[in-house]
């Protein structure tokens, strides 16, 4: 593998820059983290490095639902007790976990890994939509309903409408979470009761 960093930069500088690339980490925090690692016992640094590598080596995307998993297909996709007529489409793996926590949904999932947002350069072709179509035609052809559980904001609504247009002609009922969720709120942070109710009172996408 090619070293992305020129050899002239010092190891500590490389670490600061690596932390700075992480979401939510500013230059100050990146420095603080790097100096923490520098002072920490070697085992701690080694454990962190191994955890980082392991997550890249062992965690893959499920070939059906695109959720992150250590086994492919994932546990949910293989679970024969789940309702295979329903697929709940979410933006990110964390949203899937939020819905699982409600214990109110027993169907399958599909993770888009994003949402339509032209300003961020994300169009439908950049999401896992082709993968959704493929499974609806093949392994999950029993599915009759797709519940679009994207966040209640402009981009989430745009994605829901796009999926409605795409899937309704295939004879699939496309529904959207009820508007009980506070507008602009992230699914990930919604409480279980609110999210459960939004799922229960879902509406057909026009």
């Amino acid at each position: 593998m090619q070293d992305p960093w020129p050899s002239s930069t010092s190891p500590i500088q490389r670490l600061v820059e690596a932390f700075h690339r992480l979401p939510g980490i500013g230059p100050k925090s990146a420095q603080r983290l790097a100096y923490y690692i520098l002072r920490a016992p070697e085992e701690e640094a080694r454990a962190l490095a191994e955890a980082l590598l392991e997550v890249k080596e062992r965690v893959v995307l499920c070939s059906r639902c695109q959720d992150i998993t250590e086994q492919d297909p994932c546990r949910i996709c293989l679970d024969t007790s789940r309702d295979r007529t329903s697929i709940c489409v979410v933006e990110e793996p964390l949203d899937l976990r939020a819905i699982e926590r409600t214990r109110g949904y027993h169907g399958l999932f599909h993770v888009l890994h994003g949402v339509i947002s032209p300003a961020d350069g994300v169009g439908p072709e950049d999401l896992k939509i082709a993968e959704l179509l493929a499974r609806l035609r093949d392994v999950d052809h029993d599915a009759t309903e797709v519940i679009v559980a994207t966040n209640p904001n402009l981009e989430g609504e745009a994605t829901a409408m796009y999926l409605g247009r795409l899937l309704t002609p295939l004879g699939i009922r496309v529904t959207r979470l009820a508007r009980g969720l506070p507008a602009g709120a992230d699914l990930e942070y919604a409480d279980d009761v609110t999210l459960g109710r939004a799922l229960e009172f879902r509406q057909v996408v026009e």
Binding site: S117, P118, A119, G123, L154, E155, E157, A158, M161, R165
Partner: protein, 394 residues
Amino acid sequence: MHLSGLSLTNVRSFRRLDLELRPGMHVIAGPNGSGKSNLLEAIALLATTRSVRAAADADLISWDALRDEPLPVGRLSAQVASREGPVTVEVVIAARAGLEGQPAAATRRFRVNGVARRASDLIGRLRVVLFSADDLGIIDGAPAARRRYLDVTISQLDPTYVRALQRYQRVLQQRNSLLRRLQERRGAPNELDFWDQELAESGATVLTARAATLAALATGASARYVDLAPAGEELAICYRPALPPPLTDLVSEPAAALAPRFLETLNELRRRDIQAGATRIGPHRDDVTFLLGGHPAGVSASRGQQRSAALALRLAEVALSTQRTGDAPVLLLDDVLSELDAARRARVLATAYEVDQVFITTPDPDRPSVDELPSARRYQLVSGAVRPIEDAAG
């Protein structure tokens, strides 16, 4: 309504300022560059959440704090007494110290009564009308200055306008990005459907609110212009929405009537929008024309006429704000009196007596004179501190 307290920390020239305030007139004297305008700008920012001068947010933070502190924070807060009861509004601007050669980036947070809120929840809790020398830009500046004037004015009167405007701006940004993708032959034109629908709906709300408010302001301003310039021509103010002719008439109808026609027109113009890679109609391209005796005031009127027109517009804004809410806004007069003759100054001061609280800045402590404003409390602004001038305060 009036401010009962104001505190500023690390805002422009103020490291720390705490003022207890009462209703009535406040004259703040200080030499040029002492920060008088910054004080009024800070009050206006607490009302509108926007900086008057459209500068970067980080520029609002005191220069000393930007230089000395790793995470400089500017904090503005005001206690407001209004008909709806007391409320505390707070704006916090946090910057990352600029890396060498880079401007500092800033984030803004808002609180109402100590609870974190969105900007749209804060706007309107405090209403102000700011008169400043920059008002001439409304008459002779670029169309963007007039749209900004309308947006700031209507936002304070109508909280739903702020939300519609924010949604419109976000949809517009998404739609323009998509148009540029389509121009490069990426994606399919029917991906525009969702954004067109949203643009038409939020756009119609913005357009109809602008038309209605401007019509009311125009009537008020024309009447006041006659007072300010008795021998002058008639002042007419017209809204010029950037829509094709059959749609322009619909802006005075309810938004629900305009939205479907706006959407149809977007569909008709879709191919041209894709070619241009930009949305070519809608409120982001609106303008307002000021006519004096039928001629555009921005080009053909004298400086004095333009000043009177801007003044008439602001005075109309005070009346409209009072009429719509039943509670007079706080008046901020940023060194505008010195440029006016005695008759016009009297007109402005007459309006000042009709509201609960007025802040007047002046470079000359003797103007406006004690004779002109006998009841005013007088202050001197020296090196970031506001001190009462005892003998004049009475």
